[in-house]
């Protein structure tokens, strides 16, 4: 074996060692912090929906879930006002006083309606990172799930 060949083998050996080192580091130093962070965000999003649905809307004499139900079932509440317009206002108020205030992007909506509070989450035009998505079913006036839910996606 010539000296040139020996040096080439040495360079390859060093390169292999470096690659193995990087792979081992990436595997051992896996981002457990990221898993915990996402569990925290998941809990935050879920608690947002769970706490919002039973909140009272005094001017309509019902809850947020009641307004969403009225919108879905084409019912009349809020002194004959359009429940879907009221629902839209509620979603805007709830999201802007909390999620937007904390610098998060979000999509908060009620499935099956046009009511949605959007702040560029999952936008095709902006590069956003979806942190978490959560959903809570809305119960109909007959006590059965309507198959539609209040849905929240939070992005950064």
């Amino acid at each position: 074996m010539t000296r040139g060949q020996a040096e080439m083998i040495g360079v390859v050996a060093v390169a292999v060692l470096l690659i193995v080192g990087v792979l081992v580091y990436a595997r051992v130093g896996g981002d457990t912090g990221g898993i915990v962070r996402s569990a925290v965000q998941e809990q935050e999003a879920e608690s947002f929906l769970i706490a919002l649905l039973p909140a009272d809307v005094p001017r309509c004499g019902t809850t947020v879930e009641g307004v969403a139900r009225a919108c879905l079932e084409r019912d009349t509440i809020c002194d004959s006002a359009d429940p879907c317009a009221e629902l839209q206002r509620i979603l805007d108020v709830a999201a802007s006083s909390t999620l937007r205030r904390h610098g998060l992007r979000y999509n908060l909506s009620v499935e099956g309606t046009s009511a949605m509070a959007l702040d560029d989450c999952e936008s095709a035009e902006r590069a956003t990172l979806l942190l978490v998505r959560s959903r809570q079913e809305i119960i109909g006036s007959a006590g059965m799930p309507l198959g539609k839910g209040l849905s929240l996606a939070v992005c950064r």
Partner: protein, 162 residues
């Protein structure tokens, strides 16, 4: 430099270059490990804060009573106002709560959906002065026992991290 001298110095140059590469690699690895460790510690601490927030809403001093107590994450507004008032005016009591609540700042924010406004209430403040703080939040229902109204609220824990 003559070709002969260059050949003699070749192993020395290789050793120097390899040493520099190894030192740079070691420094990078050390730095990356420290960053990762501090990120992990911050995340675990956020999880602990979240657990604390959940415990907080079930403390008898704050939790809803009566039928509303079936809701796990329900805070009684009258209890919260009384708790905030007592803690703020009594240093001994704040010290007594320190083992449970730690060096944190706890705030309850209650949203008025009709008006579109919100009110923040400082429940407890034993945070250390620091330039950087980390906030962890959970959302709760807030029962006003005077009117029977259920409101949308947020519990926030803020902790100094540097």
């Amino acid at each position: 430099m003559r070709r002969g001298q260059l050949q003699t110095l070749e192993p020395v140059i290789i050793v120097i270059v390899l040493t520099v590469l190894l030192l740079a690699g070691g420094a990078y690895f050390l730095r990356a490990s420290q960053d990762d460790e501090s990120r992990r510690a911050a995340s675990v601490s956020a999880r602990d804060d979240l657990a604390l927030l959940e415990r907080l809403s079930s403390l008898p001093e704050l939790a809803c009573s009566g039928p509303a107590s079936a809701n796990r994450m329900c805070v009684d507004l009258a209890k919260a106002e009384a708790f905030a008032g007592i803690i703020a005016g009594d240093e001994t009591l704040r010290v007594a709560y320190f083992p449970i609540l730690g060096a944190t700042n706890l705030t309850l924010r209650v949203l008025d959906i009709d008006e579109g406004s919100s009110r923040a209430m400082a429940l407890y403040d034993a945070s250390r002065n620091g330039t950087r703080t980390r906030a962890t939040r959970t959302y709760v229902t807030v029962l006003d026992p005077a009117t029977g109204d259920v409101r949308f609220g947020m519990l926030e824990i803020r902790r100094s991290i540097g």
